[in-house]
């Protein structure tokens, strides 16, 4: 073949379905120029993350869940059609036809059609408000239905059913789970674990009904419907969600004569080929060895095998590990291998702690040398190492029970070094320890680089802690030191400096520099030290010894603008202000000819103040009862709020009073970066609390606390941290979270990035704050009390301190103003003159 013919002979690969697995297949093949890929999706949108679908109700949007987009596919040269349902496979002429009549010829056809939720044939199942939980469209339907519903029932108590139950609970409905079997999650969990799981879930306010078969759905008396069970009991509900398992979308195979299994599923061989060698099937539509894999990792493995086989490589799909770790409504659940102990001769060890709601079981081989399976409820901290024991056939310690017993520091741990190179670290993307070593050898020296070249930990993310451990161990083995120095003057991270200052009771920068640093310091270590000193001792920041450490904003207690002037922001807690105070701001701005603008944090910013005007302006503001707004500091900015139940027809709590309390409690707290709060009076969330560092949303039963959200440059939805808190607990948690952040975050690290950098993430933070796993809660609260008790308005202190006032002059030897500052008028207010608008300042050196 000549080169030209080869180009013409580019093979057409048609992929039917663009779910997670279909998309993964595209990812495997798009780089290879020998193939032209065409994706035909019956859905209206391209691939999105169904594993994290429930996060749609905790703030994630369809865009957040998207795994690809039009631009990416275009850049990859992938031809794609959405709303393109394939209705015909013409095997003889090797082409497929869509519902709109479009034809696509193929050399190889890949069916990744996925599955659909099974709805049991119960009379009444097709009525309105009887829904399923599978696609983003389903979620929209659930959300709509919930608006006119008070009670919701999920039929099916498996993994997906419980996720669905969580979703409707999040929507504020009284939630029930109805399960046919005598226990929850019967596939992954044994009876003992199922019972503990049930207790925990019921504690969270979800009612569980097991051994219930639904006969019929009828009109209800109190609610829209009534479920009638075979034991003559009934359950009233407004919304019904079916989650009774999945069925493969195999209708194309059925209609066009590809072999299918007895109970459905497109039969495939070890290369993922169907009965027609040019047609592959992957993911949940495929039946391998009479088994349908309903998890994403095996689907990904099939996608890889099919792509390799098309390229002429011989790789085989030989089944997949179905171990899984997840968190359902805040309850940790882990299932590994032979969870039910079905292997002949297997033995089990069980640990149960009823008060704590923890259940752990391991299944071992008859000679007690190998781990076969495990069930973990309430605490999955041992999941990673147990999984490694099982997957790699690592010899168990002499007393296997030590792996799950709470024994303090004596627990045998499986270090990264003890794993064989074949150890599977990330099962979503099939990354072994050997792959990680190869990447490190090829030059990956930080985690982001490693993740982008191996894709490890970018699927479900369950392996992140293990990945970090393996990665850092490998770096250490190569003598690479992970450098965390703040700057050339201190070989410490901010967190280490914080501890040094606290433990050694260091009170000045010079003392810190003498003891632990070198040189004269710089604009990085000085403000950082000032911030730590303020967090620990909360002394007046313009105190003589601290003043030289402050950034210009803190130094002049105002925000430096591009022309050298400052802006002034008085505190307006919760955005609530009297007409009298509004008039004062207006009069001050008018008197000093300042530009005014409403900020995003419900305050008023006044721009264009010269250094020497700042004390005059502040004297007037303080006389009128204002305080500094700390807009210049790395500290609490505002607590944004809606008016709450006081005025609003929909509010369920007094959000404004809570916002005022929070703002007054935390004002003045110095932190690694600025902190923003918001409080909303109902789930309509008008204060946008989920985009704040600390977000509080009123519920019928208390407050929901969201943490570590962010707007701005890198938006992040806050994570739901705890629900239905009373006032005291809410404050207690916020005290602890904030102080833990102040204590451990890096310099200029917002809470969002901080949380993501915490090993163990949200779960870990919850343990530290709620369960007090580090026994730190008391100290954190005391520290916050010290800060709250020692609050002072920095402007009030400054105006009373002649020494500090000396700084507020443009010149040390003259009362003149800086003639370089020039304004022009635009929309009836001042703004800095642009270069071409400036009037030249005549400078005569004589």
């Amino acid at each position: 073949m000549s080169a030209q013919i080869q180009i013409q002979a580019k093979q057409n690969i048609v992929v039917v379905g663009n779910g997670m697995v279909g998309h993964h297949f595209v990812e495997q093949l798009y780089k290879d120029n020998d193939y032209q890929i065409t994706v035909l999706s019956a859905e209206s949108r391209l691939a999105y993350d169904r594993v994290h679908l429930s996060e749609f109700f905790t703030g994630k949007t369809a865009d957040d869940l998207a795994m690809t987009d039009v631009a990416t596919y275009e850049a990859w040269g992938v031809d794609f059609r959405t709303n393109a349902k394939v209705v015909n496979i013409d095997k003889a002429n090797k082409k497929v036809v869509t519902a709109t009549g479009e034809e696509f010829g193929y050399d190889k056809l890949v069916l990744a059609t996925g599955s659909y939720p099974f709805v049991p044939p119960i009379p009444g199942k097709d009525r309105d408000h009887c829904l399923v939980y599978r696609t983003i469209e389903d979620l929209h339907a659930i959300e709509n239905s919930a608006k006119s519903s008070k009670v919701g029932v999920v039929i099916g108590g498996g993994l997906l059913g419980l996720e669905a139950a969580n979703a409707i609970k999040e929507l504020g409905l009284e939630t029930h789970v109805v399960e046919f079997a005598p226990q929850l999650m019967g596939v992954q969990v044994d009876a003992g674990g199922g019972a503990v799981l049930r207790n925990k879930i019921e504690d969270l306010g979800v009612q569980v009904h097991t051994s219930k078969a639904t006969n019929v759905i009828e009109d209800g008396e109190q609610c829209r419907y009534k479920l009638c069970f075979s034991d003559d009991t009934v359950l009233e509900t407004d919304l019904i969600l079916f989650s009774a398992g999945i069925r493969p979308y195999d209708n194309l195979a059925r209609e066009f004569d590809l072999e299918i299994g007895e109970r459905g599923g497109i039969t495939i061989n070890n290369q993922c080929q169907t009965s027609d060698a040019d047609i592959y099937a992957i993911g949940e539509c495929a039946l391998w060895n009479n088994f349908i894999f309903g998890l994403v990792a095996p689907g990904y493995a099939m996608a890889k095998v099919a792509a390799k086989h098309i390229c002429g490589e011989s790789e085989s799909f030989t089944g997949a590990d179905m171990s899984t770790k997840l968190k359902l409504m805040g309850v940790e659940v882990g299932s590994i291998g032979d969870a039910h102990g079905k292997t002949a001769g297997s033995l089990t060890y069980t640990y149960e702690n009823q008060p704590e709601g923890v259940y752990k079981k391991i299944v071992v081989s008859s000679d007690k040398s190998k781990l076969l399976g495990a069930v973990l409820i309430g605490d999955t901290s041992e999941y990673d190492s147990l999984l490694q024991y099982m997957l790699n056939g690592i010899d168990l310690p002499e007393t296997p029970e030590s792996l799950i017993l709470p024994m303090g520091g004596d627990k045998p741990t499986l270090g990264a070094d003890s794993l064989p190179d074949s150890a599977m670290i990330c099962s979503c993307h099939n990354v072994t320890k050997g792959d990680i070593i190869a990447s490190v050898d090829a030059g990956a020296t930080d985690l982001p680089a490693l993740k982008s070249c191996t894709k490890a930990s970018t699927g479900c993310g369950g392996c992140s802690a293990l990945l970090k451990d393996v990665f850092e161990t490998e770096l250490e083995n190569r003598g690479v030191e992970v450098k965390k120095d703040m700057c050339e003057h201190f070989a410490y991270s901010r967190r280490e400096l914080f501890d040094l200052i606290k433990v050694e009771k260091i009170k000045t920068f010079d003392e810190l520099l003498d003891k632990h640093g070198s040189g004269l310091g710089c604009e990085i270590c000085k403000p950082t030290t000032a911030s730590i000193l303020a967090s620990v001792y909360n002394e007046y920041i313009l105190e003589k010894l601290h003043l030289p450490l402050q950034d210009s904003n803190d130094n002049f207690l105002a925000n430096l603008q591009k022309d050298g002037t400052y802006s002034v922001v008085p505190r307006i807690p919760g955005g609530e202000i009297t007409p009298e105070k509004l008039i004062v701001i207006g009069e001050v701005a008018k008197k000093y000819a300042l530009y005014t603008k409403i900020t995003g944090g419900q305050r008023i910013d006044m721009f264009g103040a010269r250094v020497e005007q700042l004390p005059l302006i502040w004297q007037e503001l303080i006389d009128a009862g204002f305080e500094t707004g700390h807009a210049y500091g790395k500290s609490l900015r505002t607590v944004k709020s809606c008016v709450g139940e006081t005025w609003c027809r929909f509010g369920v709590k007094d959000s404004l009073s809570m916002a005022l309390y929070l703002e007054n409690r935390y004002k003045g707290l110095r932190s690694p970066h600025k902190i923003k709060f918001a409080v909303s009076g109902c789930t309509r969330e008008c204060a946008e609390a989920q985009s704040k560092d600390i977000g509080v949303i009123a519920t019928e039963n208390g407050w929901n606390l969201y943490v570590c959200g962010n707007g701005g440059m890198r938006p992040r939805h806050g994570d739901l941290f705890a629900t239905d808190l009373d006032d005291a607990t809410l404050i207690q948690y916020i005290d602890r979270v904030l102080m833990f952040y102040v204590k451990t975050a890096d310099r200029l690290q917002r809470t969002s990035v901080w949380l993501e950098s915490l090993e163990g993430g949200l779960e870990y933070l919850q343990k530290v704050i709620i369960d007090d796993s580090l026994e730190l809660a008391g100290e954190l609260e005391n520290q916050m009390k010290v800060i709250a008790d020692s609050y002072q308005c920095e402007w009030k202190t400054t105006l009373a301190d002649p020494e500090a006032m000396k700084r507020f002059k443009s010149f040390v030897n003259s009362d003149d103003s800086d003639s370089n500052i020039q304004f022009v008028t635009e929309r009836e207010q001042i703004r800095p003159a642009r270069e071409e608008e400036r009037i030249p300042v005549i400078f005569d050196p004589s």
Binding site: L520, E523, P548, L549, S552, D818, P845
Partner: protein, 118 residues
């Protein structure tokens, strides 16, 4: 620093302020014949007093005296408060941008009086 004899001939030591007006480990600004000159007092450095032009050539505003002082590789520097570039207090050179610098002035204390040579 290089001064030609001609130029030096026109220059004099001019009183700016008293020693007490300086701020330890920070800057003040002097206005002399419409020139703005930032004066820094670095207590821990070998040389204690430095004077450079107050105009930030990158941010194009008179703000240098409000910057944080310190050292980079043992060279005393001030970081512009606008965009944080470092200017050497010895040479006026910007460490991040070869084309930018601030003028450097001689400064001394004589019987409690801070004086600039301009």
């Amino acid at each position: 620093m290089e001064f030609t004899n001609d130029k030096q001939a026109d220059k004099n030591w001019i009183k700016v302020c008293s020693e007490q007006d300086l701020v330890k480990d920070a800057g003040v600004c002097a206005l002399i014949n419409d020139q703005q000159i930032a004066i820094f007092h670095l207590e821990k450095a070998e040389q204690k007093l430095f004077a450079v032009g107050n105009f930030d050539p990158i941010g194009k505003a008179n703000v240098i005296y409000r910057g944080i002082v310190g050292s980079i590789n043992d060279e005393p520097v001030v970081a512009s408060p606008l965009y944080k570039q470092h200017f050497s207090l010895l040479t006026g050179q910007c460490l991040q941008d070869e084309a930018s610098n601030v003028p450097v002035y001689l400064v001394r204390v004589q019987s409690g009086e801070v004086q600039l040579f301009v």
